[in-house]
Structures are given as C-alpha cells and as structure tokens.
Symmetry: C2
Subunit: 143 residues, 2 copies
Amino acid sequence: MKSTFEELSNELKKKKIRLSHQRLKVLEYLTLHLCHPTVEQIYVDLQKEVPTLSKTTIYNTLSSLIESGLVRVITIEDHETRYDIRTENHGHFKCESCGEIYDFNVDIDSLQSVDLNNFKINDKNVYFKGICPRCLLSINKIK
Amino acid sequence: MKSTFEELSNELKKKKIRLSHQRLKVLEYLTLHLCHPTVEQIYVDLQKEVPTLSKTTIYNTLSSLIESGLVRVITIEDHETRYDIRTENHGHFKCESCGEIYDFNVDIDSLQSVDLNNFKINDKNVYFKGICPRCLLSINKIK
DNA sequence: TTTTTACTTTGTAATCGTTACAGATTAATT
DNA sequence: AATTAATCTGTAACGATTACAAAGTAAAAA
C-alpha cells in the first residue's frame, strides 16, 4: 500500500493523471481510511484540511482514479456508493444492523462457471450481508 | 417457478401479504420477465395493462416482496436497482458494453472465509463484469 | 349481504446523490 | 514569465427513491 505523498504522486504520474493538490488529498485520504468511505464522508473530513474543496472535485477525482484502476467502487446498496483503494481481490461483508462494511479474504479467482465460457471477465465481486459479531453480542444482551 | 395467478396468490397468502390486483400484476411480471427489470421497466410495461398503476405502488410492492423473501434485489451499479424473482443462489454478469445482465450458475454456498467465523451470514452475492459474447463478436467485426 | 376496519394505492411534493456546465484557477510546458 | 490545456469550483439540473395524505379496496365481523 502506497502511503507517502511522494509515492502517491508517482502512482499518478505512472498512470498519466495530472497531479493536483486535491487529487493527492483524496488519494491520501483513501490510503488512510480503508473503511470504504462514501463521497459524503470524504467531503466532510477533507474540508477540514482543504476548505475550498468541492464535492464535484471529489466525484471527478474518484472517476479518474477508478478509470485508471487505482480505486475500486463498492456497490452493495443503492444510494450508498463506497470507494476502496484496496484493489486486490477480497470480499465485503455488510452488517445489516450497524451498516459497517468488513473486508474478508476469499478465493474469488477460483470462482468459475461454465456458463461464462465465451465471456470476457474484467471484474469479479463478492459481497455478503448479515450481522457482525459486535451486533450479535448486543442483540443477545437485550434478549 | 410459480407462474399462474392462483399459484402466485397462494405464495402471497403463505407470506401473509394481502392480495391486491397490483401486487399480483407485479409478481406476474417478474415471473414472466426474468431479465432483471428496473422499476422503470416494470412501470412502463405494466401501465399498458393497468393504466392507473403508480410508481410508488411498484416501489411499495417490491419492498414487501423483498422483505418476505419472494424477490431479490440486484445492485451492481448505483442508480440502477434491479429485481429478480429467482432467489436460488446464482451469479450475475453485467456486460459493460450493452448493459445486459446474464445469470450464471456458480457454487456460491461453497464460498467461505475464516475471517467471517463469528459473523451471521444472511445473504451471499456474486457478480462479474466484462463483455458478453455478442458484444465481443461485434467489436471484432469492427476491427 | 352489509358494515367495519385496517391496509393499500395514488399523485404530488420533497429528498438526496450525482452529473452538467461555465467561468475561474492552476499544473506543466515553452 | 507566458502559454496552454486540464482542473477546480459553485450552482443548477437531473433522476431515482421516499414521504405523505386523501381516496380506494380487501378481508374480517356483524
């Protein structure tokens, strides 16, 4: 995982994305917050450091980062698009009680289907829903 | 797959969902159109048969059907929620060229992760993205 | 069958996330 | 330092979904 400003800059240069303060800040934010933030969360937090930052810029930035493959979209619920800088294959678990999204390791590459023999597969996604251990505990306490 | 009006009625009764003309029509539509329609598609098509049908009703109906487990939500892209009456486990493939969504058989149940040992899993989803055979063909013809 | 009751439907208005757009700004090049 | 082309900003527009209240209807009770 790249984390210093300089390393992030190099990542962008490699992908031929023009460097800008805002882009670097968004990228940095994503490396520091692996909790799959929404645009709203990124916006609220980054505004403290970059008061002039606009939401449109975050959308634009995320678009280029996604297009270049540096960032990944997580769509589990409609109207709650989330972003993840961890592009290696892993699954996502969304707790239906607290809403938190957990990463988990799972062998996605081994998922195959004869039905897709003639398809070109670019992207594989796996997500589960249920209740996380913390919420299970508090539910049991109430009972 | 249930398909006659009577069978669909029984499904609803079993789930203690009150029967209404609109609900049966939406249910019937879903059994006849396994192409993962959006609310918009359901609305436009069903209005031909039920001119007074309102979009809000479709949203309401789908909510109860989902809650009762008769219908499943497919969220692959944000702002494009789709619905599927096939609730048995299967994967979805979305073609990034034509937008079509294909079903495929895949052993979702075997997907396991030690990271989720203490989690209660209610729902497992798998979706791939890429290019479907038809689009691959036409792309090659152009080249 | 009629009456009652609670649920459902409808249409409009409100909401919220996202995108479009145009003028101001800025990174990179000359 | 000047130029150029891409980026940023703020506002307005858009589209999907939800909220709400009045009208209508299915099912249960009389």
